[in-house]
Protein backbone atom coordinates (compact mmCIF):
# COMPACT_ATOMS: atom_id res chain seq x y z
CA UNK A 1 0.00 0.00 0.00
CA UNK A 2 1.22 3.48 -0.80
CA UNK A 3 2.43 5.11 2.39
CA UNK A 4 3.58 8.53 1.34
CA UNK A 5 2.65 11.42 3.67
CA UNK A 6 0.79 13.09 0.79
CA UNK A 7 -0.44 10.14 -1.24
CA UNK A 8 -2.91 11.93 -3.49
CA UNK A 9 -2.77 15.49 -4.77
CA UNK A 10 -4.50 17.37 -7.57
CA UNK A 11 -1.24 17.32 -9.54
CA UNK A 12 -0.95 13.57 -9.15
CA UNK A 13 -4.57 13.16 -10.15
CA UNK A 14 -3.94 15.25 -13.26
CA UNK A 15 -0.79 13.38 -14.23
CA UNK A 16 -2.41 9.99 -13.59
CA UNK A 17 -5.27 10.90 -15.91
CA UNK A 18 -2.87 12.16 -18.57
CA UNK A 19 -1.02 8.86 -18.44
CA UNK A 20 -4.29 6.91 -18.40
CA UNK A 21 -5.47 8.68 -21.57
CA UNK A 22 -1.96 8.86 -22.98
CA UNK A 23 -2.94 8.53 -26.65
CA UNK A 24 -5.29 11.45 -26.29
CA UNK A 25 -2.61 13.41 -24.40
CA UNK A 26 0.01 12.54 -27.01
CA UNK A 27 -2.29 13.57 -29.86
CA UNK A 28 -2.96 16.93 -28.17
CA UNK A 29 0.75 17.41 -27.57
CA UNK A 30 1.55 16.65 -31.21
CA UNK A 31 -1.13 19.03 -32.49
CA UNK A 32 0.26 21.87 -30.40
CA UNK A 33 3.90 21.06 -31.16
CA UNK A 34 3.27 20.71 -34.91
CA UNK A 35 1.34 23.99 -35.08
CA UNK A 36 4.00 25.90 -33.16
CA UNK A 37 6.83 24.27 -35.14
CA UNK A 38 5.13 25.22 -38.40
CA UNK A 39 4.73 28.79 -37.27
CA UNK A 40 8.32 29.08 -36.00
CA UNK A 41 9.72 27.57 -39.22
CA UNK A 42 7.63 29.94 -41.32
CA UNK A 43 8.62 32.92 -39.18
CA UNK A 44 12.30 32.00 -39.52
CA UNK A 45 11.99 31.50 -43.26
CA UNK A 46 10.14 34.80 -43.54
CA UNK A 47 12.79 36.67 -41.56
CA UNK A 48 15.53 35.10 -43.67
CA UNK A 49 13.66 35.92 -46.88
CA UNK A 50 13.17 39.56 -45.90
CA UNK A 51 16.84 39.79 -45.01
CA UNK A 52 17.88 38.24 -48.33
CA UNK A 53 15.70 40.73 -50.20
CA UNK A 54 17.09 43.57 -48.11
CA UNK A 55 20.63 42.53 -49.10
CA UNK A 56 19.60 42.30 -52.76
CA UNK A 57 17.92 45.69 -52.66
CA UNK A 58 20.95 47.16 -50.97
CA UNK A 59 23.02 46.09 -53.96
CA UNK A 60 20.46 47.72 -56.23
CA UNK A 61 20.79 51.05 -54.48
CA UNK A 62 18.43 53.71 -53.20
CA UNK A 63 14.83 53.72 -54.33
CA UNK A 64 13.75 57.31 -53.68
CA UNK A 65 15.27 60.53 -54.95
CA UNK A 66 14.55 63.83 -53.21
CA UNK A 67 15.21 67.03 -55.15
CA UNK A 68 14.63 70.72 -54.45
CA UNK A 69 11.08 71.69 -55.34
CA UNK A 70 12.20 73.86 -58.26
CA UNK A 71 14.59 71.30 -59.73
CA UNK A 72 14.06 70.38 -63.38
CA UNK A 73 13.82 66.62 -63.65
CA UNK A 74 14.81 66.58 -67.32
CA UNK A 75 17.94 68.61 -66.68
CA UNK A 76 18.73 66.39 -63.73
CA UNK A 77 18.45 63.28 -65.89
CA UNK A 78 20.76 64.97 -68.42
CA UNK A 79 23.35 65.27 -65.67
CA UNK A 80 22.92 69.03 -65.50
CA UNK A 81 23.00 69.78 -61.79
CA UNK A 82 23.32 73.54 -62.01
CA UNK A 83 19.73 74.12 -60.90
CA UNK A 84 18.42 74.96 -57.44
CA UNK A 85 19.87 73.45 -54.28
CA UNK A 86 18.67 72.96 -50.70
CA UNK A 87 20.12 73.10 -47.19
CA UNK A 88 22.27 70.17 -46.09
CA UNK A 89 20.32 70.27 -42.82
CA UNK A 90 17.37 68.66 -44.67
CA UNK A 91 19.10 65.29 -44.32
CA UNK A 92 19.08 65.61 -40.54
CA UNK A 93 15.43 66.65 -40.56
CA UNK A 94 14.49 63.60 -42.59
CA UNK A 95 16.51 61.26 -40.40
CA UNK A 96 14.83 62.66 -37.32
CA UNK A 97 11.34 62.80 -38.85
CA UNK A 98 8.90 60.58 -37.01
CA UNK A 99 6.54 59.70 -39.84
CA UNK A 100 9.06 59.05 -42.60
CA UNK A 101 8.55 55.68 -44.27
CA UNK A 102 12.21 55.53 -45.26
CA UNK A 103 15.31 54.91 -43.21
CA UNK A 104 18.58 55.67 -45.00
CA UNK A 105 19.34 59.16 -46.36
CA UNK A 106 22.38 60.49 -48.24
CA UNK A 107 22.74 64.14 -49.04
CA UNK A 108 24.72 64.83 -52.22
CA UNK A 109 26.16 67.86 -53.94
CA UNK A 110 26.67 66.94 -57.58
CA UNK A 111 28.31 68.81 -60.43
CA UNK A 112 29.15 67.68 -63.94
CA UNK A 113 32.64 68.71 -64.89
CA UNK A 114 35.62 67.60 -66.93
CA UNK A 115 38.74 66.01 -65.59
CA UNK A 116 41.52 65.81 -68.10
CA UNK A 117 39.08 65.87 -71.03
CA UNK A 118 36.85 63.23 -69.47
CA UNK A 119 33.32 64.08 -68.28
CA UNK A 120 32.67 63.06 -64.72
CA UNK A 121 29.93 63.66 -62.15
CA UNK A 122 31.65 65.14 -59.15
CA UNK A 123 29.70 63.92 -56.10
CA UNK A 124 30.24 65.22 -52.60
CA UNK A 125 28.88 62.95 -49.87
CA UNK A 126 29.15 62.62 -46.10
CA UNK A 127 27.87 59.09 -45.77
CA UNK A 128 24.43 57.91 -44.84
CA UNK A 129 22.25 59.25 -42.11
CA UNK A 130 19.70 56.97 -40.52
CA UNK A 131 17.35 57.20 -37.66
CA UNK A 132 19.88 55.19 -35.67
CA UNK A 133 22.69 57.60 -36.55
CA UNK A 134 25.26 57.62 -39.33
CA UNK A 135 25.90 54.13 -40.66
CA UNK A 136 29.36 52.74 -41.23
CA UNK A 137 28.26 50.30 -43.90
CA UNK A 138 27.22 52.50 -46.79
CA UNK A 139 25.41 51.24 -49.84
CA UNK A 140 27.28 50.83 -53.16
CA UNK A 141 26.16 54.22 -54.39
CA UNK A 142 27.23 56.06 -51.28
CA UNK A 143 30.68 56.34 -49.77
CA UNK A 144 32.39 57.87 -46.79
CA UNK A 145 35.35 59.60 -48.42
CA UNK A 146 38.12 61.20 -46.32
CA UNK A 147 38.87 64.82 -47.09
CA UNK A 148 41.44 65.34 -49.81
CA UNK A 149 40.78 61.93 -51.28
CA UNK A 150 38.59 60.68 -54.14
CA UNK A 151 36.85 57.45 -55.07
CA UNK A 152 36.71 56.96 -58.83
CA UNK A 153 33.95 55.28 -60.76
CA UNK A 154 35.08 52.32 -62.88
CA UNK A 155 34.51 54.08 -66.21
CA UNK A 156 36.42 57.18 -65.06
CA UNK A 157 39.38 55.06 -63.97
CA UNK A 158 39.39 53.34 -67.31
CA UNK A 159 38.94 56.56 -69.29
CA UNK A 160 41.69 58.42 -67.43
CA UNK A 161 43.87 55.35 -67.03
CA UNK A 162 44.28 56.11 -63.32
CA UNK A 163 44.72 53.77 -60.41
CA UNK A 164 44.79 53.88 -56.63
CA UNK A 165 47.53 56.02 -55.13
CA UNK A 166 47.79 58.36 -58.12
CA UNK A 167 46.57 61.92 -57.94
CA UNK A 168 43.96 63.68 -60.03
CA UNK A 169 43.17 67.38 -60.37
CA UNK A 170 39.55 68.41 -59.97
CA UNK A 171 38.46 72.02 -60.43
CA UNK A 172 41.96 73.19 -59.63
CA UNK A 173 42.57 71.06 -56.52
CA UNK A 174 44.58 67.82 -56.27
CA UNK A 175 42.99 64.71 -54.81
CA UNK A 176 44.55 61.37 -54.00
CA UNK A 177 42.78 58.45 -55.60
CA UNK A 178 41.99 56.25 -52.61
CA UNK A 179 39.79 53.74 -54.32
CA UNK A 180 38.50 52.62 -57.72
CA UNK A 181 34.91 51.52 -57.42
CA UNK A 182 33.54 48.30 -58.87
CA UNK A 183 31.64 48.61 -62.12
CA UNK A 184 28.02 49.39 -61.50
CA UNK A 185 26.90 49.14 -65.11
CA UNK A 186 24.99 52.41 -65.25
CA UNK A 187 25.42 56.12 -65.88
CA UNK A 188 26.02 58.20 -63.89
CA UNK A 189 27.25 55.74 -61.24
CA UNK A 190 30.27 54.60 -63.23
CA UNK A 191 31.32 58.13 -64.19
CA UNK A 192 31.10 59.51 -60.66
CA UNK A 193 34.04 60.79 -58.69
CA UNK A 194 33.17 60.80 -55.02
CA UNK A 195 34.79 63.34 -52.69
CA UNK A 196 33.97 64.56 -49.19
CA UNK A 197 30.91 66.82 -49.13
CA UNK A 198 32.87 69.67 -47.53
CA UNK A 199 35.47 69.50 -50.32
CA UNK A 200 32.70 69.62 -52.91
CA UNK A 201 30.97 72.54 -51.21
CA UNK A 202 34.26 74.47 -51.12
CA UNK A 203 35.12 73.67 -54.75
CA UNK A 204 31.64 74.67 -55.94
CA UNK A 205 31.35 77.58 -53.51
CA UNK A 206 28.08 76.28 -52.12
CA UNK A 207 28.73 75.92 -48.36
CA UNK A 208 26.01 74.09 -46.42
CA UNK A 209 24.13 73.20 -49.59
CA UNK A 210 23.25 69.96 -51.37
CA UNK A 211 21.22 69.35 -54.53
CA UNK A 212 19.86 65.83 -54.02
CA UNK A 213 19.06 63.37 -51.30
CA UNK A 214 18.99 59.62 -51.92
CA UNK A 215 16.67 57.62 -49.64
CA UNK A 216 15.84 54.00 -49.08
CA UNK A 217 12.19 53.22 -48.47
CA UNK A 218 10.07 51.55 -47.39
CA UNK A 219 8.71 50.81 -43.99
CA UNK A 220 5.15 50.75 -45.37
CA UNK A 221 2.55 48.50 -43.74
CA UNK A 222 2.30 45.15 -45.56
CA UNK A 223 -1.31 45.85 -46.56
CA UNK A 224 -0.64 49.35 -47.89
CA UNK A 225 -2.05 49.88 -51.39
CA UNK A 226 -0.49 53.04 -52.82
CA UNK A 227 2.92 52.91 -51.23
CA UNK A 228 4.41 55.45 -53.65
CA UNK A 229 1.93 58.05 -52.44
CA UNK A 230 2.50 57.00 -48.84
CA UNK A 231 6.27 57.44 -49.12
CA UNK A 232 5.92 60.73 -50.97
CA UNK A 233 3.40 62.09 -48.47
CA UNK A 234 5.47 61.03 -45.49
CA UNK A 235 8.57 62.82 -46.81
CA UNK A 236 6.72 65.92 -47.99
CA UNK A 237 5.08 66.22 -44.61
CA UNK A 238 8.54 66.83 -43.14
CA UNK A 239 10.02 68.77 -46.08
CA UNK A 240 7.25 70.59 -47.94
CA UNK A 241 9.59 72.33 -50.42
CA UNK A 242 11.05 69.24 -52.11
CA UNK A 243 9.95 66.91 -54.86
CA UNK A 244 10.01 63.20 -54.20
CA UNK A 245 10.76 60.89 -57.11
CA UNK A 246 10.51 57.19 -56.29
CA UNK A 247 12.18 54.54 -58.43
CA UNK A 248 8.95 52.62 -58.78
CA UNK A 249 10.24 49.17 -59.67
CA UNK A 250 12.73 49.05 -56.80
CA UNK A 251 10.28 50.46 -54.31
CA UNK A 252 7.45 48.15 -55.35
CA UNK A 253 9.66 45.04 -55.50
CA UNK A 254 10.85 45.64 -51.95
CA UNK A 255 7.36 46.34 -50.69
CA UNK A 256 5.74 43.43 -52.51
CA UNK A 257 8.31 41.00 -51.18
CA UNK A 258 7.70 42.18 -47.61
CA UNK A 259 3.95 42.06 -48.14
CA UNK A 260 4.13 38.57 -49.64
CA UNK A 261 6.13 37.23 -46.70
CA UNK A 262 3.74 38.88 -44.24
CA UNK A 263 0.73 37.37 -46.06
CA UNK A 264 2.26 33.89 -46.12
CA UNK A 265 3.10 34.13 -42.43
CA UNK A 266 -0.42 35.28 -41.61
CA UNK A 267 -1.94 32.49 -43.72
CA UNK A 268 0.23 29.87 -42.03
CA UNK A 269 -0.59 31.28 -38.58
CA UNK A 270 -4.33 31.32 -39.27
CA UNK A 271 -4.22 27.86 -40.85
CA UNK A 272 -2.25 26.42 -37.93
CA UNK A 273 -4.63 28.06 -35.46
CA UNK A 274 -7.74 26.73 -37.19
CA UNK A 275 -6.39 23.19 -37.50
CA UNK A 276 -5.12 23.22 -33.91
CA UNK A 277 -8.41 24.63 -32.63
CA UNK A 278 -10.47 21.97 -34.38
CA UNK A 279 -8.15 19.15 -33.32
CA UNK A 280 -7.94 20.27 -29.69
CA UNK A 281 -11.69 20.77 -29.53
CA UNK A 282 -12.29 17.26 -30.84
CA UNK A 283 -9.66 15.60 -28.67
CA UNK A 284 -10.85 17.42 -25.56
CA UNK A 285 -14.45 16.56 -26.35
CA UNK A 286 -13.50 12.90 -26.66
CA UNK A 287 -11.57 13.05 -23.38
CA UNK A 288 -14.24 14.76 -21.27
CA UNK A 289 -16.97 12.56 -22.77
CA UNK A 290 -15.04 9.50 -21.63
CA UNK A 291 -14.63 11.14 -18.22
CA UNK A 292 -18.24 12.17 -17.68
CA UNK A 293 -18.77 9.69 -14.84
CA UNK A 294 -15.56 10.82 -13.20
CA UNK A 295 -16.73 14.42 -13.41
CA UNK A 296 -20.10 13.42 -11.93
CA UNK A 297 -18.38 11.57 -9.07
CA UNK A 298 -16.10 14.50 -8.29
CA UNK A 299 -19.23 16.63 -8.12
CA UNK A 300 -20.93 14.07 -5.83
CA UNK A 301 -17.85 13.99 -3.60
CA UNK A 302 -18.17 17.73 -3.08
CA UNK A 303 -15.61 19.10 -5.51
CA UNK A 304 -16.65 22.62 -6.48
CA UNK A 305 -17.16 23.45 -10.15
CA UNK A 306 -14.12 25.72 -10.03
CA UNK A 307 -11.96 22.90 -8.70
CA UNK A 308 -13.18 20.46 -11.35
CA UNK A 309 -12.66 23.12 -14.03
CA UNK A 310 -9.12 23.66 -12.76
CA UNK A 311 -8.45 19.94 -12.92
CA UNK A 312 -9.82 19.67 -16.47
CA UNK A 313 -8.00 22.79 -17.68
CA UNK A 314 -4.76 21.59 -16.13
CA UNK A 315 -4.40 19.13 -18.97
CA UNK A 316 -4.43 21.68 -21.83
CA UNK A 317 -2.20 23.90 -19.72
CA UNK A 318 0.42 21.18 -19.44
CA UNK A 319 0.32 19.88 -22.99
CA UNK A 320 0.30 23.42 -24.38
CA UNK A 321 3.40 24.39 -22.40
CA UNK A 322 5.28 21.22 -23.29
CA UNK A 323 3.97 21.26 -26.88
CA UNK A 324 4.90 24.92 -27.42
CA UNK A 325 8.43 24.36 -26.10
CA UNK A 326 8.84 21.26 -28.25
CA UNK A 327 7.36 23.10 -31.25
CA UNK A 328 9.75 26.04 -30.86
CA UNK A 329 12.75 23.72 -30.70
CA UNK A 330 11.52 21.61 -33.63
CA UNK A 331 10.70 24.63 -35.79
CA UNK A 332 14.07 26.20 -35.10
CA UNK A 333 15.83 22.90 -35.71
CA UNK A 334 14.07 22.50 -39.06
CA UNK A 335 15.20 25.92 -40.28
CA UNK A 336 18.75 25.81 -38.95
CA UNK A 337 19.67 22.19 -39.65
CA UNK A 338 17.91 21.79 -42.98
CA UNK A 339 20.17 24.32 -44.68
CA UNK A 340 17.17 26.17 -46.14
CA UNK A 341 18.17 29.29 -44.25
CA UNK A 342 21.69 30.72 -44.51
CA UNK A 343 23.74 30.48 -41.33
CA UNK A 344 24.11 34.23 -41.16
CA UNK A 345 20.43 34.94 -41.76
CA UNK A 346 18.54 36.57 -38.90
CA UNK A 347 15.96 34.26 -37.28
CA UNK A 348 12.93 34.97 -35.16
CA UNK A 349 14.25 36.46 -31.89
CA UNK A 350 14.27 34.19 -28.84
CA UNK A 351 12.09 36.73 -27.01
CA UNK A 352 9.40 36.24 -29.67
CA UNK A 353 9.70 32.46 -29.31
CA UNK A 354 9.38 32.84 -25.54
CA UNK A 355 6.17 34.79 -26.09
CA UNK A 356 4.78 31.80 -27.99
CA UNK A 357 4.62 29.81 -24.73
CA UNK A 358 2.00 31.92 -22.93
CA UNK A 359 0.15 32.65 -26.19
CA UNK A 360 -0.04 28.97 -27.14
CA UNK A 361 -1.10 28.03 -23.62
CA UNK A 362 -3.83 30.61 -23.59
CA UNK A 363 -5.02 29.55 -27.05
CA UNK A 364 -5.02 25.83 -26.16
CA UNK A 365 -7.01 26.47 -22.99
CA UNK A 366 -9.51 28.58 -24.94
CA UNK A 367 -9.91 25.86 -27.58
CA UNK A 368 -10.40 23.19 -24.90
CA UNK A 369 -12.79 25.29 -22.84
CA UNK A 370 -16.05 24.78 -24.82
CA UNK A 371 -16.14 20.95 -24.53
CA UNK A 372 -14.97 21.15 -20.91
CA UNK A 373 -17.69 23.63 -20.02
CA UNK A 374 -20.31 21.55 -21.79
CA UNK A 375 -19.23 18.47 -19.77
CA UNK A 376 -19.18 20.48 -16.56
CA UNK A 377 -22.66 21.87 -17.13
CA UNK A 378 -24.20 18.41 -17.54
CA UNK A 379 -26.56 17.36 -14.77
CA UNK A 380 -24.43 15.12 -12.47
CA UNK A 381 -27.52 13.18 -11.36
CA UNK A 382 -28.28 12.35 -14.99
CA UNK A 383 -24.67 11.42 -15.77
CA UNK A 384 -24.34 9.18 -12.72
CA UNK A 385 -27.56 7.45 -13.68
CA UNK A 386 -26.08 6.41 -17.02
CA UNK A 387 -24.60 2.94 -17.34
CA UNK A 388 -20.83 3.04 -17.15
CA UNK A 389 -18.89 2.06 -20.25
Amino acid sequence: MTSSSNPLTMHRLLLREMWHSRWNTLACLLVVAASVALYVAMADLGAASVDATRALMKEMGFNVLILPAAADRARYQALDYEGPDMPEEYVTRLAEGRLILAQHFVGKLQHTTRVEEYTVVLTGVLGQSTRAGTVKDPMPTSYVVPRGQAFMGAAVARGLNKSVGERMRILGRDFEIARVLPEYGAVPEDIRVFIHLRDAQELLDRPGRINAIDALACQCPADARDIVAMVRDSIEATLPDVQVEPYYSLLLARHHQRALVARIQLAVLVGALVVAAAALWGLTYQNVSARRHEIGVLCALGFSDARILGLLLGKPLLYALVGAAAGCLTGRAVTTWSGVVAETAPLTPVTTLALLLPITTLAAMLFALPPIMSALLRDPAEVLGETQP
Binding site: M1, T2, S3, S4, S5, P7, L8, T9, M10, L13, R16, E17, W19, H20, H293, E294, G296, V297, L298, C299, A300, L301, G302, F303, S304, D305, R307, D379, P380, A381, L384, G385, T387, Q388
Partner: protein, 221 residues
Protein backbone atom coordinates in the same frame (compact mmCIF):
# COMPACT_ATOMS: atom_id res chain seq x y z
CA UNK B 1 -31.45 15.03 10.09
CA UNK B 2 -33.16 14.26 6.76
CA UNK B 3 -36.50 15.93 6.19
CA UNK B 4 -38.56 16.25 3.02
CA UNK B 5 -41.66 18.44 2.98
CA UNK B 6 -44.09 18.00 0.08
CA UNK B 7 -41.27 17.41 -2.37
CA UNK B 8 -42.13 16.97 -6.02
CA UNK B 9 -39.78 16.43 -8.90
CA UNK B 10 -40.87 16.60 -12.48
CA UNK B 11 -38.74 16.58 -15.60
CA UNK B 12 -39.24 16.41 -19.33
CA UNK B 13 -38.42 13.33 -21.34
CA UNK B 14 -39.12 14.24 -24.94
CA UNK B 15 -42.69 15.55 -25.01
CA UNK B 16 -43.62 13.67 -21.89
CA UNK B 17 -43.52 15.10 -18.34
CA UNK B 18 -42.27 12.53 -15.87
CA UNK B 19 -43.47 12.86 -12.27
CA UNK B 20 -40.48 11.28 -10.55
CA UNK B 21 -41.65 12.34 -7.08
CA UNK B 22 -45.08 13.58 -6.08
CA UNK B 23 -45.50 15.57 -2.83
CA UNK B 24 -43.31 13.28 -0.78
CA UNK B 25 -42.80 14.10 2.90
CA UNK B 26 -40.60 12.06 5.22
CA UNK B 27 -38.39 12.51 8.24
CA UNK B 28 -35.34 10.54 9.37
CA UNK B 29 -34.03 11.48 12.80
CA UNK B 30 -30.35 11.80 13.62
CA UNK B 31 -28.57 8.49 14.12
CA UNK B 32 -31.31 6.46 12.47
CA UNK B 33 -31.13 4.10 9.52
CA UNK B 34 -34.03 4.44 7.11
CA UNK B 35 -34.74 1.89 4.43
CA UNK B 36 -36.32 3.24 1.26
CA UNK B 37 -37.98 0.50 -0.77
CA UNK B 38 -39.90 0.40 -3.98
CA UNK B 39 -39.90 -1.02 -7.45
CA UNK B 40 -37.69 0.25 -10.27
CA UNK B 41 -38.77 3.68 -11.46
CA UNK B 42 -40.56 4.53 -8.23
CA UNK B 43 -38.34 7.58 -7.58
CA UNK B 44 -35.83 6.19 -5.07
CA UNK B 45 -32.70 7.41 -6.88
CA UNK B 46 -34.34 10.79 -7.55
CA UNK B 47 -34.99 11.15 -3.83
CA UNK B 48 -31.35 10.32 -3.03
CA UNK B 49 -30.16 12.86 -5.62
CA UNK B 50 -32.41 15.54 -4.11
CA UNK B 51 -31.08 14.81 -0.61
CA UNK B 52 -27.49 14.95 -1.91
CA UNK B 53 -28.13 18.24 -3.66
CA UNK B 54 -27.23 16.68 -7.01
CA UNK B 55 -30.65 17.75 -8.30
CA UNK B 56 -33.12 20.41 -7.23
CA UNK B 57 -36.78 19.73 -6.38
CA UNK B 58 -39.48 21.18 -8.60
CA UNK B 59 -41.37 22.11 -5.42
CA UNK B 60 -41.18 21.42 -1.71
CA UNK B 61 -38.39 21.63 0.83
CA UNK B 62 -35.42 19.34 1.48
CA UNK B 63 -33.41 19.59 4.71
CA UNK B 64 -30.31 17.49 5.22
CA UNK B 65 -28.05 17.90 8.29
CA UNK B 66 -29.86 21.18 9.01
CA UNK B 67 -29.10 22.49 5.52
CA UNK B 68 -31.99 23.82 3.44
CA UNK B 69 -30.78 22.01 0.34
CA UNK B 70 -33.61 23.32 -1.85
CA UNK B 71 -32.49 26.94 -1.40
CA UNK B 72 -28.73 26.42 -1.48
CA UNK B 73 -26.55 27.49 -4.36
CA UNK B 74 -24.52 24.89 -6.25
CA UNK B 75 -21.27 25.76 -4.50
CA UNK B 76 -22.95 25.51 -1.08
CA UNK B 77 -24.38 22.12 -1.96
CA UNK B 78 -20.93 20.95 -3.06
CA UNK B 79 -19.49 22.15 0.24
CA UNK B 80 -22.25 20.29 2.13
CA UNK B 81 -21.41 17.07 0.30
CA UNK B 82 -17.73 17.54 1.01
CA UNK B 83 -18.25 18.04 4.76
CA UNK B 84 -21.41 16.29 5.85
CA UNK B 85 -23.04 14.08 3.24
CA UNK B 86 -21.68 11.00 1.47
CA UNK B 87 -23.28 9.25 -1.46
CA UNK B 88 -22.79 5.57 -2.34
CA UNK B 89 -23.88 4.63 -5.85
CA UNK B 90 -25.17 1.35 -7.12
CA UNK B 91 -22.72 1.61 -10.04
CA UNK B 92 -19.72 2.40 -7.75
CA UNK B 93 -18.32 5.10 -10.04
CA UNK B 94 -14.70 4.58 -9.06
CA UNK B 95 -12.02 6.56 -10.88
CA UNK B 96 -10.51 4.05 -13.31
CA UNK B 97 -6.94 5.35 -13.34
CA UNK B 98 -6.49 5.44 -9.56
CA UNK B 99 -5.69 2.48 -7.33
CA UNK B 100 -8.25 1.34 -4.78
CA UNK B 101 -6.31 3.11 -2.04
CA UNK B 102 -6.19 6.35 -4.03
CA UNK B 103 -9.89 6.09 -4.81
CA UNK B 104 -10.61 5.87 -1.09
CA UNK B 105 -8.45 8.96 -0.52
CA UNK B 106 -10.15 11.02 -3.25
CA UNK B 107 -12.41 13.02 -0.86
CA UNK B 108 -9.34 14.40 0.93
CA UNK B 109 -8.72 16.59 -2.12
CA UNK B 110 -11.78 18.63 -1.32
CA UNK B 111 -11.98 18.28 2.46
CA UNK B 112 -9.17 18.32 5.01
CA UNK B 113 -9.19 14.87 6.59
CA UNK B 114 -6.77 14.48 9.48
CA UNK B 115 -4.85 11.22 9.31
CA UNK B 116 -6.46 10.39 5.97
CA UNK B 117 -3.96 7.69 4.96
CA UNK B 118 -4.38 5.86 8.29
CA UNK B 119 -8.13 6.23 8.13
CA UNK B 120 -8.19 4.94 4.54
CA UNK B 121 -6.19 1.89 5.55
CA UNK B 122 -8.49 1.23 8.51
CA UNK B 123 -11.57 1.45 6.29
CA UNK B 124 -10.04 -0.89 3.74
CA UNK B 125 -9.26 -3.34 6.53
CA UNK B 126 -12.81 -3.10 7.83
CA UNK B 127 -14.24 -3.66 4.36
CA UNK B 128 -11.73 -6.44 3.64
CA UNK B 129 -10.11 -4.93 0.53
CA UNK B 130 -6.63 -4.20 1.89
CA UNK B 131 -5.18 -6.79 -0.46
CA UNK B 132 -6.56 -4.74 -3.36
CA UNK B 133 -4.98 -1.45 -2.29
CA UNK B 134 -2.71 -1.15 -5.30
CA UNK B 135 -5.20 -2.55 -7.78
CA UNK B 136 -7.18 -0.48 -10.24
CA UNK B 137 -11.00 -0.81 -10.28
CA UNK B 138 -10.79 -2.79 -13.51
CA UNK B 139 -8.77 -5.42 -11.69
CA UNK B 140 -11.28 -5.84 -8.85
CA UNK B 141 -14.45 -7.87 -8.51
CA UNK B 142 -17.87 -6.20 -8.38
CA UNK B 143 -18.11 -6.71 -4.62
CA UNK B 144 -14.63 -5.30 -4.03
CA UNK B 145 -15.42 -2.27 -6.13
CA UNK B 146 -18.56 -1.56 -4.13
CA UNK B 147 -16.68 -1.95 -0.85
CA UNK B 148 -14.03 0.41 -2.20
CA UNK B 149 -16.74 2.93 -3.12
CA UNK B 150 -18.19 2.63 0.40
CA UNK B 151 -14.74 3.18 1.96
CA UNK B 152 -14.39 6.31 -0.17
CA UNK B 153 -17.76 7.56 1.05
CA UNK B 154 -16.86 6.94 4.68
CA UNK B 155 -13.40 8.59 4.63
CA UNK B 156 -14.69 11.98 5.80
CA UNK B 157 -16.80 10.38 8.55
CA UNK B 158 -19.99 11.93 7.16
CA UNK B 159 -22.98 12.76 9.33
CA UNK B 160 -25.36 11.59 6.60
CA UNK B 161 -24.89 8.61 4.30
CA UNK B 162 -27.10 8.25 1.23
CA UNK B 163 -26.69 4.77 -0.19
CA UNK B 164 -28.42 4.04 -3.48
CA UNK B 165 -28.87 0.26 -3.72
CA UNK B 166 -25.30 -0.41 -2.53
CA UNK B 167 -25.90 -4.15 -2.47
CA UNK B 168 -27.91 -4.37 -5.66
CA UNK B 169 -25.15 -6.04 -7.69
CA UNK B 170 -23.33 -7.86 -4.91
CA UNK B 171 -22.94 -11.45 -3.81
CA UNK B 172 -24.13 -12.35 -0.31
CA UNK B 173 -20.70 -12.08 1.31
CA UNK B 174 -19.96 -8.62 -0.08
CA UNK B 175 -23.49 -7.43 0.69
CA UNK B 176 -23.09 -8.57 4.29
CA UNK B 177 -19.80 -6.66 4.68
CA UNK B 178 -21.32 -3.50 3.17
CA UNK B 179 -24.46 -3.60 5.34
CA UNK B 180 -22.42 -4.34 8.45
CA UNK B 181 -20.27 -1.29 7.77
CA UNK B 182 -23.36 0.89 7.34
CA UNK B 183 -24.87 -0.52 10.54
CA UNK B 184 -21.65 0.30 12.38
CA UNK B 185 -21.91 3.91 11.17
CA UNK B 186 -25.50 4.06 12.48
CA UNK B 187 -24.30 2.90 15.88
CA UNK B 188 -21.63 5.61 15.71
CA UNK B 189 -24.33 8.25 15.24
CA UNK B 190 -24.57 8.69 11.46
CA UNK B 191 -27.92 9.09 9.75
CA UNK B 192 -28.38 6.67 6.87
CA UNK B 193 -30.86 6.56 4.04
CA UNK B 194 -30.55 3.19 2.39
CA UNK B 195 -32.29 2.49 -0.88
CA UNK B 196 -33.26 -1.03 -1.88
CA UNK B 197 -35.63 -2.81 -4.21
CA UNK B 198 -36.88 -4.91 -1.35
CA UNK B 199 -36.65 -5.23 2.44
CA UNK B 200 -33.41 -6.71 3.73
CA UNK B 201 -32.96 -9.38 6.36
CA UNK B 202 -29.44 -8.56 7.45
CA UNK B 203 -30.11 -5.01 8.52
CA UNK B 204 -32.76 -3.78 10.93
CA UNK B 205 -33.87 -0.31 9.85
CA UNK B 206 -35.26 2.16 12.37
CA UNK B 207 -37.81 3.25 9.84
CA UNK B 208 -38.91 1.98 6.45
CA UNK B 209 -40.45 3.98 3.59
CA UNK B 210 -42.06 2.61 0.50
CA UNK B 211 -42.30 4.54 -2.75
CA UNK B 212 -44.52 3.64 -5.67
CA UNK B 213 -44.80 5.71 -8.84
CA UNK B 214 -43.26 8.69 -7.10
CA UNK B 215 -45.62 8.63 -4.12
CA UNK B 216 -44.82 7.66 -0.57
CA UNK B 217 -47.29 4.87 0.09
CA UNK B 218 -45.99 3.47 3.35
CA UNK B 219 -43.92 4.56 6.33
CA UNK B 220 -43.28 2.00 9.07
CA UNK B 221 -41.41 2.97 12.22
Amino acid sequence: MIRLENVSKRYKRGNETVHALDTVSLDVAEGRLALLCGPSGSGKTTLINLCAGLAAPTSGAVYVADNPVHTMRQAERAAMRARQVAVVFQLFHLTPYLSAYENVLLPMLTQQVSGAPQRARALMDELRITHRARHRPGEMSTGERQRCALARALLTNPAVILADEPTGNLDVESATVVLAALDARRRAGATILLVSHQPMDSVKPDVMFRLEAGKLVDAIA
